[in-house]
């Protein structure tokens, strides 16, 4: 399954342009982080993909089939998880999922099979008889995910899934998303928690004011590497770090150094080679987890549309 967003444009009332010529693509097995400041056009793009909104121009295709011209096909291929959570006092988890299974056209035994399958996968089996409003936020998020998966879609769209979740629920959600990606689903997930995205996503799309920003340049230009040495070695390492080709800057960080390289992986390899040649063996050598945050801060200007 290949999802292609092509030159998408959407303008709301009073000329507010939410999406401005946005193009990107992703395929089965990929988990794409969809990043941007508030008002960047993420939710609008996702709603168009889920057939809940329509663009002024441009298109979104699923294996070449337009979601605008054939929304009924898109419904079967796309699972949408919005940022608001289900909460009703008159509906249980099981009834909620049963309704959506039927609504997606499942019939007979397939309904129970699908409902029990997603309840099992999302860990909701023991909560199936609880009403929706009696669930915690994390559990509601799982119900929302289960609902999006009940018809086994090839594409999953998740709008701010980790919003408001506690650390444990976030980690559990992250593992679920990774598992779905490994199972071959094409996933587009937006979040403001960039470190979370970085851990679950295979790549990312950064947008601002409805336009895609070029993050590639930022990735290659600025890569931070975290280094730690045994006591006594730390001070000796600094001159070696600075003389290595491709290293732009180094700054102290606890018992080690944060090194900024200019040319990504090549500079990192050169740095490692240089350190080992001088017998300055680091006990920690890893790219910084906050890389996406750095890229995001580098390429976005924080402007609203």
């Amino acid at each position: 399954m290949k999802v292609e967003v092509t030159n998408l444009m959407k303008t709301f009332d009073r000329g507010f342009r939410a999406v401005d010529g946005l193009s990107f693509s992703f395929a089965s097995g990929e988990v794409i982080g969809f990043v941007g400041p508030n008002g960047a056009g993420k939710t609008t793009t996702m709603r168009i993909m889920a057939t809940l909104d329509t663009p002024d121009s441009g298109d979104i295709t699923l294996d070449g089939v337009s979601v605008l011209d054939h929304p009924e096909r898109a419904h079967r291929l796309v699972g949408f998880m919005p940022d608001d959570l289900p909460s009703r006092s008159d509906t249980t988890v099981d009834e909620y999922l049963d309704f959506f299974a039927r609504a997606y056209g499942l019939r007979g035994a397939a309904i129970r099979k699908a409902v029990e399958g997603v309840e099992e996968f999302t860990g909701l089996a023991e909560f199936r008889d609880r009403t929706l409003n009696a669930l915690s936020k994390g559990m509601k998020q799982r119900v929302s995910l289960a609902r999006a998966l009940v018809h086994d879609p090839a594409v999953l769209i998740m709008d701010e899934p980790a919003n408001g979740l506690d650390p444990r629920a976030r980690i559990e959600l992250r593992e679920l998303v990774k598992a779905l990606g490994e199972n071959g689903k094409a996933i587009l997930v937006s979040s403001h928690i960039l470190s979370e995205l970085e851990e679950m996503c295979t790549s990312s799309v950064i947008i601002e004011r409805g336009r895609r920003l070029n993050a590639e340049a930022a990735v290659s230009a600025e890569t931070w590497i975290k280094l730690r040495f045994l006591p006594g070695v730390n001070e000796k390492a600094l001159p070696v770090l600075l003389e290595t080709p491709g290293v732009v800057a180094a700054e102290s960080s606890g018992n080690g150094w944060r090194v900024k390289t200019a040319s990504g992986d090549e500079a990192a390899a050169a740095l490692a080679g240089n350190l080992f040649a001088r017998k300055l063996v680091p006990i920690l050598f890893e790219p910084e987890v906050g890389k996406l945050e750095d890229i995001f801060m580098h390429v976005t200007k924080g402007r609203l549309a």
Binding site: A50, T51, H75, R88, D90, T91, F100, A103, G105, G108
Partner: protein
């Protein structure tokens, strides 16, 4: 081949939720008690005023309980249940929780149908609870056997009609003012319902061999076809209101409009009193179309364009149905004017109908012209959509006023002479009956030309993408 019974998922969901509603549960428990108390009170009052020796159909002790039971059941089935359905739907619409249903294989028409069906099932339960009291009335010679079953059936039909029309304001994502206006449209239902009920009693009288029906075919039409039309229209309009923007949300509505027109138009002349039939049909079809369209002009959607016919002439014919307020209201005015004109022709230019009723017909027609003018104005003043919306709202208000007068006249609240100040005075029509037709035709042609000229940009978009 395995036969699978497929229940509308929305109906199932609604019923599951209603089971957990305390209001519904207590209502079901309380209804028989209320009916019992009402019957006992009325019966007690009657026993002090009537001797059993005088008892005949319609005058026996059971008449009072029949009226009481019909009233209580009617309030529940035609008032409370549709209102409850409407409010629940309005809450769902305002919370946008319906949005997720549109990411499924469900269509907006299925959603509307599911909600109407759930309301109908609850109404059927209420009617079933009232049945013993109707039977009691029969046993006490308050009503004949056929009516013991036909009255509850009529209540059930009316309940479904009310539920389907009650969905309209609830499904609408328009401003509160327009929702109130749409809600006011329900008064038309009362008008239709009373006409339908009188027609039903006319049939009942004919069946019982008592008072004969002067127009049994028309009576049958009113009693059953009109409610069926109203449900069909309410469902289609609600579906159009609910549908997400990527779909051709007006397609079902257009088809329903066309079917209503094709079926309803010949029936206008089936009865012996076409004036009454026409004015009712106007309120039913043209009024609803005009009001619905006036409230929200709709642009040519990608979905509508996708279904546009390729031949140019067919596209021209389909275009009025594919766009917003102008074509629908124009269609409504055409319906009104064509009906009225044919009415004049069918009488050979001699008007021998009840003056006041005919004045109502013509005044309605005048109102439809105002609506049409308002809708065309939108296209003419395309650069000023707010002005167009205001014109549309004013036109809708005017239509309400006219239909209000019609309703009040039907109730004899207004003196017949009260309609004289209105433009289409009966005296003028009497003098030059065919002049009215000529004026109508000229206005229609002029309106078509204006609309075509103003709509050319919209029409360019009405082709397959």
């Amino acid at each position: 081949m395995k036969l699978q019974l497929s229940i509308n998922p929305v109906t199932l969901k609604e019923l599951r939720q209603l089971v957990r509603s305390r209001l519904i549960l207590w209502g079901i428990v309380a209804l028989p008690i209320v009916l019992l108390v009402a019957t006992a009170l009325v019966l007690s009052a009657e026993m002090h005023g009537l001797s059993p020796m005088e008892a005949t159909y319609g005058k026996g002790l059971g008449t009072g309980p029949l009226i009481a039971v019909t009233a209580v059941t009617g309030i529940v089935t035609c008032g409370l249940i549709p209102l409850f359905t409407s409010i629940r739907t309005a809450i769902e619409t305002s919370k946008a929780s319906l949005g997720l249903e549109f990411t499924t294989a469900l269509t907006s028409a299925q959603i509307a149908t599911g909600k109407i069906a759930a309301a109908a099932i609850i109404s059927a339960i209420a009617v079933a609870l009232a049945m013993p009291f109707f039977v009691l009335s029969y046993l006490m010679r308050g009503v004949e056997l056929a009516s013991t079953f036909l009255i509850p059936l009529e209540l059930l039909v009316a309940s479904v009609v009310m539920s389907s029309l009650g969905l309209l304001p609830a499904c609408s994502r328009r401003s509160i003012a327009m929702k109130i206006i749409l809600l006011m449209a329900l008064y038309a239902v009362l008008s239709i319902f009373t006409t339908s009920l009188s027609a039903f009693f006319s049939i009942r009288g004919a069946l019982a061999g008592g008072t004969s029906s002067s127009w049994p075919i028309a009576g049958m039409f009113f009693a059953f076809a009109v409610p069926a039309f109203m449900v069909a229209y309410g469902r289609a309009q609600a579906a159009a209101e609910l549908a997400p923007p990527h779909t051709d949300f007006a397609r079902t509505l257009r088809i329903t409009q066309a079917v209503l027109f094709a079926v309803g138009f010949p029936l206008i002349f089936a009865g012996k009193d076409p004036c009454v039939l026409w004015s009712t049909l106007w309120t039913l079809v043209a009024g609803m179309i005009a009001l619905g369209a006036a409230a929200r002009p709709l642009p040519v959607t990608r979905g509508a364009a996708l279904h546009a016919p390729r031949p140019w002439l067919l596209r021209v014919l389909a275009f009025p149905f594919a766009t917003g307020s102008m074509p629908s209201m124009f269609f409504a005015s055409l319906l009104a004017m064509a009906s009225s004109s044919m009415l004049v022709l069918s009488t050979g230019g001699t008007i021998d109908f009840d003056d006041a009723r005919f004045a109502i017909v013509l005044t309605c027609e005048c109102g439809s012209l105002v609506v049409a003018a308002g809708s065309i104005a939108r296209m003419i003043v395309g650069a000023h959509p707010r002005l167009a919306t205001s014109v549309g709202k004013a036109a809708a208000a005017y239509i309400f006023m006219i239909n209000g007068l019609q309703f009040l006249t039907a109730l004899d609240v207004l003196e017949r002479t009260a309609l004289r100040p209105f433009p289409c005075c009966i005296e003028g029509v009497r003098r030059v009956p065919n002049g009215h037709l000529v004026i109508a035709i000229v206005m229609v042609i002029a309106a078509i030309c204006l609309a075509m000229a103003a709509a050319r940009e919209d029409f360019k978009r009405f082709r397959k993408p």
